[in-house]
Subunit: 333 residues, 2 copies
């Protein structure tokens, strides 16, 4: 599928920069952190913070109906939104769900989405307390989540000398997505089916995020792809991140290599582009690394995100632009 | 425009009832009020409450590009969402904006929306602190707003013997919408142009809502139409609302009669169906009525919302179903 108009439109980063300029200065004493991190941070009583995020999944852009059940979609939308709260080391408190549904949508579809959201609520200890229903051209779920944190983790704060940590495997969900795109629906061989499950059934890493508080200097959830989110962390912290390619292989989803052989794609590229496993990428002192974190690199003075292979540094590329889908492999309309 | 599929789909009320069943029991100690009011209510420190809402506007469903500028759209989306906070007698604290944009959207469109949202932020004292951008089939803005209240007003609590109050004129925005639908774009004679402005440039009645705290027993914002929202208040409070037709005429937008003559429609029907002026409908003791509230009826034992004309009671009809658009006059796809 090719959409030439997408090439003419502004990139997501350009649009966000435009909005940052427009909203600059519009703040209040309640706001600790505005646009630019995984979640906004508001002042709460007793020195604590509220963290608050919103996330959206749209049919034909982020998913197709043949790829997953409605309950899986509802559950997935909630975990994806809560992942931003997890990346701040916060505890989710509640969520609201705004549904856009085409005319003629049967109640069974809405019940399915709701059952999946209710399952995510139970898994995450985060009830759905309200929402909105509108008609629209395709199914979309916008989820807003409130969380609470004594000391929220942010994207800035990584320091030269820190280790770079990955919590959770990466690449599996991306391989699953590529396989869904190639085959149009669920199914396929063992490793492919397992990777599709990784895409369909992600888990927000709330407990792991909370254990990073007091250990990590900075954290981001890997939702746009490891390469893109490593750049976000490097840019926000004003440092250079160096990912060690040998160590990265150790952090791959165990089914990634086999799935990529079946797909005929490079597992390294898939791992760097992969985002929807909702792993956490953090930086902190080696001595403070929690047991579930895999060291995958280091923080240095400098700029940008780099990959080191046999002593050579190359700029990390890849990742997902929510407006452009630059690699041509995402579904689009 | 007719969309037969819309007739087969479930109504908004049926879908919300479905979701209430699915989410029943999923709550926590943090939640004071879940699904079913203008906004959810969460516990905050010191006995205060957070109120929290989400609202969505979709191109081709709630607006057409020819009807208003992008900055007007952004401003309008923010005021519409904050109106739910106003109806709870709460003070808005901050908002997040999730944009869905077609591929190829120029940055000028996003800047326009953002400038309108920034204007609303200043008007409402409610900064935009973050958001999300996704690609999708048409422009949509989902706005989530957090507010704070010592004692939030709710839909339940109206008591037999209360007066029924309207804060703000009604019908103007509905007449403006009908004129935009009829003509396809802005323009027209004086009263029509004024009513179109009422639709394009609504104002969330935050100060008025806060003055109702300690005076009103229950409150709702008139967003689905006076008839529909009166039913919401009656059902939630377990009472009968009786709207006096003579007094209702006194609460009409001053340009309504003239605009309806030009449109060839009945101003009474337009006033009862009109929602997007974002007036507030409240119930309270006559002795506690604030000066800006117009008494339009009374609360009795019984059920439902009724219109009294020369001593005769008829059931109040009309109002907007966000899934069905039952009166055939809203734009649809």
């Amino acid at each position: 599928v090719t959409d030439r108009r997408a090439r003419r439109g502004a990139s997501e980063a350009a649009l966000i920069a435009e909005l940052e300029r427009v909203f600059r200065g519009a703040t209040s004493a309640e706001v600790r952190l505005g646009i630019g991190d995984d979640a906004a941070v508001l002042r709460a009583a007793g020195g604590a913070s509220l963290v608050w995020t919103v996330d959206c999944v749209v049919e034909g852009v982020h998913f197709e109906r043949s790829w997953l059940g409605w309950a899986e979609l509802g559950r997935r939308a909630s975990h994806a939104a809560v992942s931003d709260i997890a990346a701040m080391g916060a505890e989710p408190v509640a969520m609201l769900s705004a549904l856009v549904l085409p005319a003629g949508t049967p109640s069974s579809l809405v019940r399915g989405i709701g059952q999946g959201q209710a399952r995510a609520s139970r898994e995450l200890g985060c009830p759905v307390v309200g929402g909105n229903i509108s008609r629209g051209p395709s199914v979309a779920i916008t989820t807003t989540v409130l969380g609470r944190a004594a000391r929220p983790l942010r994207r800035f704060g990584a320091k030269p000398g820190d280790e770079l940590w990955l919590v959770g495997a990466i690449g599996g969900a991306r391989a699953g997505l590529l396989s869904l795109l190639a085959h149009g629906r669920r199914g396929g061989r063992d490793a492919l089916a397992a990777c599709q499950r990784a895409w369909r059934l992600p888990r927000a890493r709330v407990a792991e995020g909370r254990r990073l508080v007091g250990r990590a200097h900075a954290c981001v959830d890997v939702s746009d792809g490891l390469a893109a989110d490593a750049r976000h962390l490097a840019d926000a912290s004003g440092v250079r991140l160096v990912v060690d390619s040998d160590r990265l292989v150790a952090a791959w989803d165990p089914r990634l290599a086999s799935a990529c052989r079946a797909l005929g794609v490079d597992p390294g590229a898939v791992a760097l582009e992969g985002g929807e496993d909702y792993a956490l990428l953090a930086a902190g002192l080696r001595s403070r690394r929690p047991p579930e974190a895999t060291p995958i690199g280091r923080v240095e003075r400098g700029k940008g995100a780099w990959l080191e292979t046999e002593g050579h540094l190359v700029v990390l590329r890849g990742g997902f632009d929510h407006m452009k889908s630059g690699d041509g492999e995402r579904p689009r309309r």
